[in-house]
């Protein structure tokens, strides 16, 4: 038996390591570094109904053990993704593919979800609810349990594929949002998205990133992400994909102990393009070192201690 295998809604992953959306493009850039087939899954670049240029540069800033980004969901739009990117990535990767869907209205989420539902290449729909709801004053869908449940139910109604809701950490009660998604019919939850952060040039007082505030990720956010995964796991009975600051095999074991069935690696791909294969290679050695038989044994074990 493969000690690293894990399951998301009955779908088998050969290992729990999935590159996070937005740090891996549609796979082609990273395939120049290594054979993507070592990966448990891939979460593709966030996709919207129409093509988006995203935000003006500078889009990137650095901080201790992390980075901030305001890419602004640059993507070619769902039709171009389905027509060109999905066939291209399927040519080089036969594992689990997650389509990552963004929208600025419930209608947009539904429209994009329908198109990915019809795409054979896609196994799981991952719904990013950190986007602002333009119809309701720009408040992110993921900061309000009612809105989160509404998006979940609307997307579930148009697809037979498993739907994983990707939660924003910029809330006071992550368990309430997780429960709302479960109530809306979500098959699973991915958390966390980036934290809202800021970097200012001390010389000039000017924010570094064009949007002033931006999404903070990297190893610095790991304790926050781990805490939220732990809270969400206690609140719901659906599988969780843990993400936030993961850069080592030990980090993977921590997130799975907190209740994650799989994990995503984000920022670390950008500074070490070999981060995912390195972590996957480290995992069996770590299991031996700690006397753990398989990853399935440790999912959620921290809750029983």
């Amino acid at each position: 038996m493969n000690r690293l295998e894990t399951y998301l809604s009955g779908i088998k992953l050969k290992n729990p390591v999935i590159p996070a959306s937005g740090t891996f493009g549609f796979g082609q850039e990273m395939a120049r570094f290594y054979d993507l087939n070592v990966l448990g899954g891939i979460s593709l670049k966030g996709t919207t109904g129409e093509e988006r240029f995203g935000n003006p540069t500078p889009r990137i800033a650095e901080c201790r053990e992390g980075l901030l980004n305001a890419v602004g969901l640059q993507n070619p739009g769902v039709d171009a993704v389905v027509a060109h990117e999905l066939p291209a990535v399927r040519k080089i990767y036969d594992g689990v593919l997650l389509a990552n869907i963004s929208g600025f209205s419930v209608e947009e989420y539904v429209a994009v979800a329908r198109k990915f539902d019809a795409a054979d290449e896609i196994d799981i729909l991952e719904i990013n609810i950190s986007c602002p709801n333009v119809r309701h004053g720009g408040m992110a869908f993921g900061t309000d349990p009612g809105a989160a449940q509404e998006v979940t139910a609307a997307v579930k109604a148009v697809t037979k594929k498993p739907v994983y809701m990707k939660l924003s950490p910029n809330v006071t009660d992550i368990a309430a949002i997780a429960r709302a998604c479960e109530a809306g019919g979500a098959d699973g939850i991915t958390l966390i998205n980036t934290l809202l952060g800021m970097v200012i040039d001390p010389r000039t007082g000017r924010p570094i990133v064009s949007t002033k505030m931006s999404g903070f990720s990297g190893p610095a956010i790991k304790p926050v992400a781990l805490r939220m995964v732990y809270q969400a796991a206690a609140a719901v009975n659906i599988p969780i994909i843990g993400v936030g600051g993961i850069s080592t095999a030990d980090d993977v074991l921590e997130f799975m102990s907190a209740g994650a069935s799989a994990v995503q690696v984000g920022a670390q791909n950008l500074v070490d393009p070999f981060a995912c294969p390195r972590i996957i290679n480290e995992l069996p050695r770590k299991l031996d070192e700690y006397g753990i038989g398989s990853l399935q044994e440790i999912i959620g074990r921290s809750h029983k201690l």
């Binding site: 850039e29 120049r32 990137i60 992390g66 890419v71």
Partner: protein, 244 residues
Amino acid sequence: MTKGIYIVLSNCQLARDTWEMVLGGDTSALTNPGQFINIAIEGLYLRRPISVCCYDPGTITIIYKVVGKGTRKLSAMTPGDTLDVIVGLGNGFDVAKAHGRKIAVIGGGVGVPPMYDTARRLAAQGEDVTAILGFATKDVSFYIEKFEALGVRLMITTDDGSMGQKGFVTDALRESGCDYVMACGPTPMLKGVHRSGIEGQLSFEERMGCGFGACMGCTCQTLVGPKRVCLDGPVFSTSEVSFE
């Protein structure tokens, strides 16, 4: 594009705040002058992208200006130290496209380094090359003798007239009579070169996340759609660039 451990062969100061480092290691991923490398620096999360000044089998020369924490740490490295580097990033200059033209190879300040290898490779092909180098002042100038040694026509400008002619590279470009430009430097300089209407290739700079096309952190708008400076560039043809 390869990631590897490179050894510092030398690291010396060339001018005020300006350093030259020679790295030893695999250079097979470098295919054009004007490409860049991305260096991991202990204690800093993001790599530092730095243009290649020149490369030969087994060695890479970079010139960098000490402007912040990363470059300050680089300047403290000594021969024998090692660095984790991703090599062979970006497209670089296409020297074949300039064949047979009267070529102005233009560098402004920290934009000068990639122009050295560009001029060297053009000169080696027997092209008609005028190197136009612009610096703020004489004390931040570097590599003048290296360009002289290439045997190319050389024009120097400084903002304050402390060396060469007082003014900007665009003034020298007008006098040069060149009909093709290859340039790297600050955005206002590139804008000036572009405004001359002379055809050619321009190398851009942008804050980057990964440096290899995965994060979309450095995307700019061009006349032919959004382009990643790190992967689709940093060199763009004058016909696809817009400064609007």
